[in-house]
Assembly symmetry: C2
């Protein structure tokens, strides 16, 4: 077998090795059934147990209160961009968004079909290099929407916006769910595509407060109603079984590692290692995100010239440091250091960047 | 390892063993990348090759003409139930359906939100035990929709309905795609959830004739437009990578087995073995489907009493014959014998049913 690489891809992203190993070991024979987990009926007891375990693990790890429902849906977080307004629209009430990057922009684009949309704050004019300060959503909004972490730009909300008590806060947590403590009870809806911090691509976790489930208008396609999926325990139709199963294995690993609290401590340590390299580089590496808005998950930075940046990306590859090219909207480099990235990978990258600077400055 | 079972589940269903073994063997290291196929970026070259190969294999195996596009989408065939009318509606033109079972019924339910719906034929009054004869769709319909195989009832279209040349025929082939020759050029759209005859749950194959892609109204959410996904090669958003990868491995295996032609021959042989047991049982086993409408994929039958049926299902389990309980809408037993079910499994089941009859009649 080839040596395992340190994979800094932004998503699909690195997964915990013990979860991968368990999946491989039981790939042809899931818990003595004589079948692969891919092959068992979603109406069978062994599969129902996977669903129940996944639900319980999300609740335990995130501290989800009992009046919230947990769903596993296909179609990606991009489908939630329209399902949020489809399910939460209230005639006459505006839907309020903060625009902090590419994903927020895509989410906002879908809302106008469902009613009035207000972008109450944005950092677009400075290429989304910061999270707007002192954000306060309006009384009378249908809901308030934020994107907690911005993968492309490497920014993350480091404070809670002000939201009137009767306005549900909706958060796209695709790229930092379970990376740090989130107060679920302060949210109406949390959703997250799995492929960054939770598991592989193909499933989206949606957590909804019970009173919001039946807000959806009658004349909405069955599959687009959260209420459909809640009523059937995410199995109104055949769920994306393997992605859910992998999320369950990942959650078990997260729990073993000490849960979100331990993970947040480790993530802060990991991010600090890289930001310290940037900050002590005398401008050789330029962080894209403003210091107060820095992401724990995606460390974005540029260098003097694109040639130097490409050289830095390319020379990392033979050292097994993969996926460091930045997104075209920022350029430069990006190190995605989700929960599953071991601190050894981060240390190796920091050492490489320090040496690269010495050689090339 | 436990002995591999013969798995007659209707979906998720048995998969080709060589495909499962290959996936397991490279699970931690995909083609020397040092990463799992679950972990590589969907923008990376190794992943693009998987997508390209899957596209080419579908085209080769099914004989897809060059003016058709192939998509791999999340959200299940149940999402296509609304995406079909969302994308193909024409103001003032009715959307015509034939109702041949539970899935057709669910598909029809979603259409009314988009315009006038006409059910031009149905076998509901006889518990969907047959495919209506001489079906002829109307001039001036927006499109014509059929469900080629009916998993719950064990019926399958054994003739082509008459469709006016300017009316696109839309076919839900979820449970018999690639089980027998389909003339793609006679269709406007073919769609199929993967988890019965194509791969694991979590992805839906959609094949659309080019001229139909841009029929969709402007005011439709981005993710609901086929045009969005066609324009980006099914990667507008992160695709369900593992389900697509497993489909690709399954398609490679299908090609090695001789393609759809060889598979159809084998499927006819497999189905005949079981229908012969039913027909020669002097009424001990009663086939649900009318003889002219019998499915090659799902063999449904009942017995004198539910007690006897349960006994027959239960006593099969220790013989490694799994998943034979019928759907509640028919009761009795159902043997799902998709492409990946080896003929040895069918022969073993036939032998068991013959012996069970001898002991219990």
């Amino acid at each position: 077998m080839t040596k395992r690489k340190f994979n800094f891809f932004p998503g699909p992203a690195t997964l915990p090795l013990p979860a991968l190993e368990k999946a491989r070991d039981e790939f042809l024979d899931f818990e003595g059934t004589g079948m692969s987990v891919l092959e068992i009926s979603h109406r069978s007891k062994p599969w129902q147990k996977v669903m129940d375990d996944a639900d319980a693990l999300v609740r335990e790890v995130m501290g989800v209160p009992s009046d919230y429902k947990v769903m596993w849906l296909g179609g990606g977080a991009s489908s939630q961009f329209y399902m949020v307004p489809a399910n939460l629209q209230v005639p006459g009430k505006p839907m309020e968004y903060v625009n902090t990057g590419g994903w927020s922009t895509k989410a906002i684009k879908e809302v106008e079909l469902y009613g009035e949309t207000k972008v109450i704050a944005s950092s677009k004019e400075e290429n989304f290099s910061y999270i707007p300060a002192d954000v306060e959503f309006s009384e009378g909004a249908a809901y308030a929407h934020i994107t907690s972490n911005n993968t492309l730009y490497g920014t993350e909300w480091n404070y809670e916006p002000k939201v009137p008590s009767d306005v549900p806060l909706v958060c796209d947590m695709s790229s930092d769910i379970m990376a740090r403590k989130a107060n679920v009870k302060d949210h109406g809806v949390i959703y997250a595509g799995a492929q960054k911090n939770l598991g592989p691509a193909g499933v989206t976790l949606v957590i909804v407060r019970e009173d919001l489930i039946d807000r959806v208008p009658e004349n909405m396609p069955t599959m687009q109603k959260w209420s459909t999926h809640v009523a059937k325990g995410s199995m109104f139709n055949t769920p994306p079984v393997f992605p859910i199963y992998m999320c369950k294995l990942g959650l078990e690993h997260l729990k073993e590692m000490g849960g979100v609290k331990a993970m947040e401590k480790l993530n802060r340590e990991k991010a600090k290692i890289l930001y310290d390299v940037i900050d002590s580089s005398d401008g050789f590496y330029k962080g894209h995100a403003r210091v107060d808005s820095r992401s724990l998950m995606n460390v974005t930075f540029t260098m003097e010239t694109p040639e130097l940046e490409n050289k830095c990306v390319d020379e990392a590859i033979p050292l097994d440091l993969i996926g460091l090219k930045g997104h075209r909207s920022v350029g430069g480099m990006r190190a995605s250091i989700y929960n599953a990235m071991p601190i050894e990978g981060v240390k190796k990258l920091a050492k490489y960047l320090t040496e690269f600077k010495e050689k090339n400055q």
